[in-house]
Amino acid sequence: MAFVNITSPHVVGHNSVTLMMGKVCLALVPALVALTYFFGWGYVINAVLAVSAAVFFEVIITLLRKRPILFAIKDLSAVTTALLLALAVPPFLPWWATIIGIFFAIVFIKHLFGGLGHNPFNPAMAAYALLLISFPLQMTTTWSIALTETQSLLSFGDTLTAIFKSSNIDSYTGATVLDVYKHNVAALTQNEITQNPIFGSFVANGWEWVSLMYLLGGVFLIWQKVITWHTPVSVLGGLLIMSVLFSYDADTSTSISLHFLAGSTMLGAFFIATDPVSSATSNLGKLYYGVGIGVLIYVFRTWGPNPDGFAFAVLLMNFCAPFIDHYTRPRTYGQDKATRGYKA
């Protein structure tokens, strides 16, 4: 009888890209729920919109590249990218901006660089950065004001109109907490700033819960071995070091707690910096990579023009990843010293 010649190993684990991406998406669910609870339907609508667009573009581009379509869709990588972008942009962002972002992420960043696994940059963050540069107004003023006793949320239908028709919903939108704090900290003290209802009673009305949900999802991923602890811990560590050094006085600069619990810190640390394709690979490399992002986040937030610099921090470190990889090779069994750098 003729046998197929299959080489070892003959058993493989039950791991797959689909499974990994699926787990990432699953880990995002608690945060999506929290976002919806505090900031309304905008996130859900954006998510659906982004995912549909992403799948659409993925199909088109795989058709054009003459690749098996189902195979490409099945890996859920496009879905993951779309979800991440949808959670990172403001909830009332006009629909066309979301579509443009997804188009850019899927077609340009992912497929034009060779498809899954070949993109040097994180597609979601590249798209985010593009939107922020191209449409700064839309990207900074369409944040939803969190639910409080005095502040109600926009209904589902109204949210739809807001997103698709750009109707005026001024009373429901505003800037992020980080933005507000940053712009007021020069004149006001911490107490005075936090009088603003958007800060709520705890840290940043609603945001702290969202951040905690991201954290929860991240821990799930570490437990599931989808990611290792190295990147998130070092991102947070880098940010901590910088904020302790420079933000110990909350009256003169954004407070440490805001750095961690507001904005996209947790999303970035657990879901974006850990994007395998564009990050450093060895454990040591991930540490350098993460610390770099942590430090840069602080730098961009504090001294840059934008309230949140996560996207830029990640993109910048993406640049460095190959370089980091070469200098952080692990020590191989039997070696006295790891072979590092470009020469033996």
Binding site: V11, L116, A344
Partner: protein
């Protein structure tokens, strides 16, 4: 009874690793059963790493169980025994178990089903045996590593093992499905411990660890019980958590000792010997029961495997024989895997035999093992890195391998990948990573080999170049020295210190030279034989090592590095041997050539001709032999059916070569004794009939030597005062010799009526030679002027030298033609009183006088020079001058006498003088034209020419003055 060694739980955690489903329960429940005696047993000659074994049986021969049928070929090789009694039915190419499904030479046994044992001599106490005897037994039994690679076990047990402190017994069996070792431990723990004790005696390690995973509690229990009974008290069973691949040798070393085997090295470098538990049992069986390795326990498992369990199969059992024995479910089987699911490979041909290291036959059903999905691209998730036990970055290796970027792959330590498959196991993209690594490793090996080959070729070329350069330099040096010597000897001659020489000594020296050369022709030829052998051996080693590397590529990737290093060494050796051989050969031929002309003159020329032709014959025979060997090797690879024929002819050739060499030896020794005999003949001084010609030559040589010695002495006086004494002795010795020779020469001349004639002949010959040489060199000079202006000065110097020589020779001839006595005067300037009254004519006297005068003048010049910078020479030179003066005065007197006696004398003198003047004029003209030339083309030669012109001018003036005077 030893103290209880508690099961030690201490271990170092394996980095990385995975937990594939174990699937051990299917096969580890039943005791080990006997395997079938199949209809035929197929025993590949290469079941191990190393040289294939050599067949020592014939087709049709009856063999008994346990009888040796193939012998190890070299140290890294293994014996093969008949696994049961029967008949050798064939020795041929058969498919073997090999990832690339290849055929190989196998011995086929047709069992007689009586299973009759050969004679065995079991022992009761191994302690009565020495270490060497124990290792010998292991080697005899053909034991190889039964856990994987199949490295011959005795190689791990050198008789001198002072640096081994830990013996590690690998009882891990970390691959899923396999339970052969598990069952072996449960059932035969006592034998295993005995085996360990044997190894302990050989290695005397400080500690013995039995490394075992915690998924085999029964085996652990059985081992512990056996350890309790053991007399040895440093065996400990170390249990550690189950994790794949903790059974990898390197990994186990780390888990148990925390040490790492150095990159590319062996465990013994960190004082560790690692041994598989199955091998240990085989050692026990071999040493105690005198059972060769003819069977092994193999697991049959997998859902389509039929009666699953462990079977003690005969080595050489074809896969399908075992499978039908266990009633496998052929239809539902998806494939047959030899080995475990993580590192085993798919069997391509089920008629291939199971060999010494086949520990498992895995026959999964279609759905049992996950089918390989089309791979996604690598998403750089890093999961592979987390599980790699070798500390590699599998995904980078994959990237490099995929892009054929082998340099980078090497940099990322691809070579350290143990191909465990853990990375593939976890890869979410389900990339067959190991396949990429194997591919890249193969490519790198190929490249390295090509590179090494190129390097070696380069080294060879450079070595050759260096050799040639040295030879050239030596030649140039010799030429220079010769030129200097010639110059000095010319000088020395003119200084008048030309000594006499001893004919016999000279002859003896000649003979001695001949003898030395003669005996040295024998030595190299004898050498050649042994060198040839060394070379052959080295070559074979290289070939076998290459083969081994090929083999281990598949079966023992971790050996490849070590083997490759070995290969490098072997190749070096072979090259060295080749070079030495070539050189020896060349030297041999050279000697023969050198010897020939030297000795023929004195001794039996025939012998040497014989030697030469014999050497040529021997060389030819060797050539043929080599070619035959080459053909045989080729045939072995391509046309096995021709091997036998070629072997016979090879034998013939080698016989011939040996014969020729023997003849040659005989002849050379004969020639040698002949030489001796003729030496004796010459030694008899009273032999009068010594040839004048020979004597003349000998005398000339002795003179030359004396001159050389003088020159050396002069030099030494200046810068090596400590050598002066010795050199002075030399000089006097040479002087004595040449004096003696001179005496003999004189005698001979006196005795031999034709002596003078002969002397004349010699002189004439010399003249001819000198003329030829001069012509030659002039020709060359012309050439050089045309093509190589930078060589012109050198040639010009030579020309001058040659001219002097030529003139001297001419003078000698003239002198001899005129009178035997004159030549004496020419040869013995220090004894001018020997000139007696002869009837000299004016014609003869005039040139003589002129010459003497010239010499006198030259001597004066030299004296002046010496006064300035070589004061120690002044005395001698002064004597010279006075001698010359005297001579010329004498001649003058004679000339005057002759003139007065001869009525026509004046006339004659005038003619001569006129001729002289004309000659001088001519010379001057030539020189002037040359000067013109030089002015146009070679400005740097102008001064030299100008000087010549001046001297010539003076001569001309003188000649004219004389002429006038006479007039």
């Amino acid at each position: 009874m030893s103290e209880l060694n508690n099961t030690n739980q201490q271990f170092y955690a394996l980095p990385g690793g995975v937990h594939p489903p174990e699937n051990k329960a299917q096969s580890n429940q039943q005791p080990i059963q006997a395997g079938p005696i199949p209809d035929e047993l197929v025993l590949p000659l290469s079941q191990h790493i190393g040289a294939p074994s050599k067949v020592i049986v014939e087709i049709g021969q009856k063999v008994l169980k346990g009888e040796l049928i193939a012998r190890n070929d070299g140290f890294i090789s293994a014996n093969i025994h008949a696994p049961t009694s029967g008949t050798i039915s064939a020795i041929e190419q058969r498919p073997i178990v090999h990832p690339s499904s290849m055929d190989a030479m196998c011995i086929i046994i047709e069992p007689d089903h009586y299973d009759t044992w050969t004679n065995r001599s079991p022992i009761l106490d191994f302690k009565t045996l020495t270490n060497a005897q124990l290792v010998e037994k292991i080697q005899q039994a053909g034991i190889i590593g039964m856990g994987g690679a199949g490295f011959p076990t005795h190689v791990k047990y050198p008789t001198k093992t002072d640096n081994i402190d830990t013996l590690i017994i690998n009882a891990t069996e970390c691959e899923p499905y396999i339970t052969a070792d598990d069952r072996l431990m449960r059932e035969r723990a006592d034998g295993i411990i005995k085996g360990i004790e044997i190894c302990q005696q050989i290695l005397s390690p400080k500690q013995v660890f039995i490394g075992i995973e915690d998924n085999k509690p029964e085996a652990v229990k059985a081992l512990e019980a056996a350890v309790l009974k053991s007399e040895s008290n440093n065996i400990s069973v170390r249990v550690f958590p189950t994790k794949y691949p903790s059974g990898g040798e390197k990994q186990l070393v780390y888990i148990l000792t925390g040490k790492e085997v150095p990159k590319g090295g062996l465990p013994s470098q960190v004082g560790i010997v690692c041994q598989n538990i199955g091998t240990i049992y085989a050692i026990y069986d071999a040493v105690m029961n005198d059972n060769a390795l003819i069977s092994r326990v193999t697991t049959v498992t997998g859902d389509a495997g039929g009666e699953l369990g462990n079977y003690e199969i005969l080595i050489g059992t074809p896969i399908n024989a075992l499978l039908s024995h266990v009633k496998w479910n052929e239809k539902s089987a998806q494939r047959v895997i030899i080995g475990g699911p993580m590192m085993g490979f798919t069997a391509q041909n089920l008629s291939a035999p199971l060999v010494k290291n086949a520990n498992c036959l895995l026959v999964p059903k279609k759905k049992e093992l996950a089918k390989q999905n089309p791979a996604n691209p690598c998403i750089r998730c890093g999961q592979c890195e987390q599980v790699c036990p070798a500390g590699l970055l599998p995904q980078q290796l994959h990237w490099y391998a995929k892009n054929d970027d082998f340099e980078k792959a090497k940099l990322a330590n691809l070579a350290d990948c143990i191909e465990c498959g853990a990375c593939s196991f976890v890869c979410p993209s389900q990339i067959p990573l190991v396949q990429f690594y194997r591919y890249a490793k193969g490519k790198i090996r190929e490249e390295d080999r090509a590179h090494a080959e190129a390097e070696r070729a380069k080294a060879r070329f450079e070595a050759r170049q260096a050799r040639l350069d040295i030879v050239a330099a030596e030649k140039a040096e010799k030429r220079k020295i010769r030129a200097e010597k010639a110059a000095r000897s010319a000088k020395a001659k003119k200084t008048g210190t030309v000594p006499d020489a001893d004919l016999i000594a000279k002859a003896r020296a000649k003979i001695e030279a001949g003898k030395a050369a003669n005996s040295s022709i024998v030595a190299p030829i004898i050498d050649l034989v042994s060198l040839e052998q060394t070379l052959e051996k080295a070559k074979t080693k290289v070939i076998t090592t290459k083969k081994r590397i090929e083999d281990s590529k598949v079966s023992a990737p971790e050996m490849i590095d070590a083997l490759e290093i070995a290969l490098g060494k072997f190749v070096d050796n072979a090259n060295k041997a080749q070079i030495t051989f070539d050189e020896a050969k060349k030297a041999g031929t050279n000697t023969a050539q050198i010897v020939d002309p030297k000795t023929t003159a004195i001794t039996n020329a025939d012998n040497f001709e014989c030697i030469e032709s014999l050497t040529a014959k021997a060389n030819k025979a060797q050539d043929k032999l080599e070619k035959a060997k080459q053909r045989l090797a080729d045939a072995k690879e391509n046309t096995p059916e021709k091997v036998e024929m070629l072997t016979t002819s090879l034998e013939k050739f080698s016989q011939k070569a040996i014969d020729t060499q023997a003849q040659l030896k005989a002849f050379t020794s004969k020639a040698n004794s002949n030489t001796k005999a003729s030496e004796q003949v010459v030694n008899q001084k009273e032999v009068e009939q010594v040839d004048v010609e020979q004597l003349q030559n000998a005398y000339d040589l002795a003179k030359q030597k004396h001159e050389k010695a003088l020159v050396r002495l002069d030099n030494a006086k200046q810068d090596k005062p400590h050598l002066v004494d010795g050199l002075e002795k030399n000089v006097s010795a040479f002087l004595k010799k040449s004096e003696e020779l001179k005496k003999h020469l004189d005698q001979a001349v006196a005795n031999d009526p034709q002596a003078l004639e002969k002397q004349k002949n010699v002189a004439k010959q010399k003249l001819e030679k000198a003329t030829k040489k001069l012509e030659n060199i002039l020709q060359k000079l012309e050439d050089a002027k045309a093509n190589k202006p930078d060589l012109v000065p050198a040639f010009e110097k030579t020309v001058i030298l040659m001219q002097t020589q030529f003139e001297k020779a001419k003078a000698a001839v003239t002198a001899l033609e005129n009178s035997p006595i004159t030549v004496q005067s020419e040869l013995n300037l220090s004894q001018p009183e020997m000139i007696v009254e002869v009837l000299e004519t004016v014609e003869e006297l005039q040139p003589q006088y002129d010459q003497a005068l010239q010499k006198y003048e030259k001597a004066l010049v030299r004296l002046d020079n010496a006064k300035q910078d070589k004061p120690h020479l002044v005395d001698g030179l002064e004597k010279n001058v006075s001698a010359f003066l005297k001579k010329s005065e004498d001649l003058k007197i004679k000339l005057d006498q002759a003139l007065s006696n001869d009525p026509q004398a004046k006339q004659k003198q005038r003619v001569i003088l006129e001729a002289n003047a004309q000659k001088a004029q001519k010379k001057l003209d030539v020189m002037l034209s040359k000067l013109e030339d030089a002015k146009a083309n070679n400005p740097d030669l102008i001064p030299a020419f100008e000087k010549s012109v001046k001297t010539l001018q003076t001569k001309l003036d003188k000649a004219n003055a004389q002429l006038k005077e006479e007039a």
